[in-house]
């Protein structure tokens, strides 16, 4: 991190880009994109697109608003580690859920929760 503050133009451009991307997200949600079955999960391209745009927005916030570009090396390592840890948690957990045959018989069914003694 340095003591040199960024020019206001950088912040205003980031702000404008975030607004435009928000508008694109809203517009993209109105489209009907294909859904691709993958195992017991369905890959919905609408979600993939929405999350891709959200990731771009998040990157803009981290790069310019959170001064990633001017940060020290160790802070950068932690910022990247946050994403890395998150991905480990997501992939290991989702991989586990994907590969459990018993999973479909646990939880809610059409008629209500399994093993539930509700009247």
């Amino acid at each position: 991190m340095s003591f040199e503050p960024a020019r206001p133009k950088v912040y205003l451009l980031t702000f404008a880009a975030l607004l435009v991307l928000t508008a694109i997200t809203v517009f993209a949600a109105k489209l009907t994109l294909p859904k691709i079955p993958m195992g017991i999960m369905v890959l919905d391209l609408n979600i993939v697109l929405a999350m891709a745009i959200a990731c771009v927005k998040a990157s803009l916030v981290v790069l310019y608003f959170m001064h990633y570009k001017d940060m020290g090396q160790v802070s950068r390592v932690w910022a990247v580690a946050g994403v890395f840890f998150l991905l480990i948690m997501f992939f290991l957990t989702l991989g586990d859920y994907e590969n459990r045959p018993s999973e479909e018989t646990v939880g809610w069914t059409e008629s209500g929760p399994l093993h539930d003694a509700r009247p």
């Binding site: 980031t14 928000t22 999350m51 981290v62 940060m71 989702l94």
Partner: protein, 218 residues
């Protein structure tokens, strides 16, 4: 004893101003990593339930007004801009500007909470808060599965709202401190760190907005 390097206040435990700034920045980022994982667990729960109860989630999400969610997105992005400008003003030691930008950020944050209040009260009125009074009727949709959508909605936006409140309290304390010490040079580190926290709050909402208000609306 503490020293001054240029205009910067440097604590006695630090070599120089740059090391001091780096140390504070590392600590804040470390905290933000724990926050990422904190919210990450909830996002993971959302992904798992959404892939299983897709129909119910799509039906239930129509109860949320994307225009209010979008309004809150714009409000939070604006508040991130004003916060970034507050930090910039603090680095440049422009006291009045810092207080002005912080005030605007607080205004945006309050606006966000007001919109949230309107949304939450509508959900309570329509019996969409999970619990014994929960009621959701939609052809071919299990009400228990729809309830899971609202469980996640209230847990995730509620936790996010709590972060907004904590951010607001921090900004108010900062503003009061700045006002009391207005005769001295501004120490911009507390403002920079509050800024990092605030941008993180904005970042979480960037993901919450499409997941709860938009996705699968067809």
């Amino acid at each position: 004893m503490s020293t001054h390097e240029g205009d910067m206040y440097v604590g006695h435990q630090f070599e120089d101003a740059e090391q001091q700034l780096d140390s504070y920045s590392i600590g804040m980022w470390l905290f933000l990593v724990t926050e990422v994982l904190f919210f990450g667990g909830l996002f993971l729960a959302y992904i798992i339930y959404r892939t299983r109860y897709t129909q119910a989630f799509v039906a239930a999400h129509h109860e949320l007004d994307w225009r209010l969610g979008g309004l809150n997105t714009v409000i939070l992005i604006t508040s991130s801009l004003t916060m970034a400008l507050a930090v910039r003003a603090a680095v440049l030691n422009r006291m009045k500007a810092v207080l002005g930008w912080l005030g605007l950020t607080l205004l945006c944050a309050s606006g966000f909470m007001v919109v949230k209040y309107v949304e939450y009260s509508a959900k309570f009125e329509h019996h969409l808060f999970p619990g014994p009074k929960f009621e959701f009727q939609h052809a071919g949709v299990d009400s228990g599965q729809a309830q899971m959508f609202f469980n996640l909605y209230f847990a995730m936006t509620g936790l996010h709202g709590a972060h907004v409140l904590i951010g607001m309290i921090t900004m108010m304390v900062l503003a009061i401190r700045l006002w009391l010490m207005r005769k001295q040079r501004v120490d911009f580190i507390p403002i920079e760190l509050t800024g990092l926290y605030w941008h993180f709050v904005d970042l979480v909402w960037i993901f919450l907005f499409p997941l709860f208000y938009l996705v699968g609306g067809n």
